[in-house]
């Protein structure tokens, strides 16, 4: 009989812990009513930003994708439109971060990255909404509200993450 063993590294433990925090934050956010339907602060993204800046982008990608899947399974929305909205938002943000990862840290701090990612998130969700869920041009009427909320929450999340990073400086 052959035994297959999985070597679990410290890195895997870190990813698991951070993903768990991200999932918990997503769930807390889910139970808070939002003043405007569709506008959510996305506090789980604080954890993902934190992961990217404290560790590296690869780890951030892991945490982000795990968060989307685990949250949807817990809430029972796996493979539902909500899940695909969330997934496409996450994928677009990650893609934008991969594209812009070479911005010089001399001029750009995590505020820029957070804003770029939050804009990409809204674009990703809008693509899915326009192509699949509500295939009507009328929804573009709502786009300015979503861009504005992406700006506000992108900025707030960046400032919170920055505070967290100050409290836990990179080793």
């Amino acid at each position: 009989m052959t035994l297959s063993t999985i070597n679990i590294s410290d890195r895997d433990h870190q990813i698991a812990k951070l993903s768990a925090i991200a999932v918990a934050l997503s769930l807390i956010e889910f139970f808070f009513p939002s003043p405007i339907p569709g506008v959510k602060p996305g506090i789980a993204n604080i954890v993902i930003l934190y992961t990217i800046f404290k560790f590296d982008l690869r780890m951030g990608i892991w945490v982000s994708i795990i968060r989307v899947f685990v949250t949807s399974i817990i809430l029972g929305s796996f493979l539902s439109p909500t899940f695909f909205l969330s997934l496409s938002g996450a994928l677009f943000s990650l893609l934008s971060l991969i594209i812009f990862k070479n911005l010089s840290p001399k001029f750009f701090s995590l505020i820029s990255f957070s804003l770029i990612a939050s804009l990409a998130h809204i674009i990703g969700q809008f693509v899915i909404v326009r192509l699949w869920i509500i295939p009507h041009d009328g929804i573009f009427y709502l786009l300015p509200i979503f861009i504005l909320s992406a700006f506000i929450f992108g900025l707030v999340n960046a400032l919170v993450t920055n505070k967290l990073l100050e409290l836990n400086p990179k080793k």
Partner: protein, 129 residues
């Protein structure tokens, strides 16, 4: 509190301010572009989902149309239009009030009459959806 928030902005570097300004510009441009609905020019009246008549909005006139349940009155008043009387029970169509922007619609389901405003050019059809 405000001082603390302002202090946290100290981490922002030159590029961050550039991105913030860019984002602001994007918000303003998107509002200008997407919230600037053109004024309507023409009114289409539908009965049983078929076009019954088209009128210019630049006039003052009340039209009476007989629908499935009775007579509906539609009032055009220099650029805007509303249902002024309807035979239906809940009068949702009347409570919609005046409409004047292109692509706005009002439906009266019980009487099977709907009105739709057209701009100078038709960019999409609200009735289709």
């Amino acid at each position: 509190m405000i001082k603390k928030i302002l202090q946290s902005f100290k981490v922002a570097k030159a590029g961050d301010w550039f991105i913030i300004i860019l984002f602001f510009a994007l918000i303003i441009i998107s509002m200008k572009l997407l919230w600037n609905l053109p004024q309507g020019q023409y009114l289409e009246i539908y009965k049983n989902n078929e076009i019954l008549a088209t009128y210019s909005l630049n006039q003052q006139i009340t039209k009476t149309i007989s629908g499935a349940k009775g007579e509906t009155k539609i009032t055009i008043n220099n650029g805007k239009v509303r249902f002024s009387s309807a035979p239906c029970a809940k009068k949702y169509c009347i409570h919609q009030g005046w409409i004047n922007k292109a692509n706005q619609i009002i439906l009266c389901i019980p009487n099977k009459i709907s009105i739709s405003i057209l701009g100078s050019n038709k960019n999409y059809d609200s009735i289709n959806y």
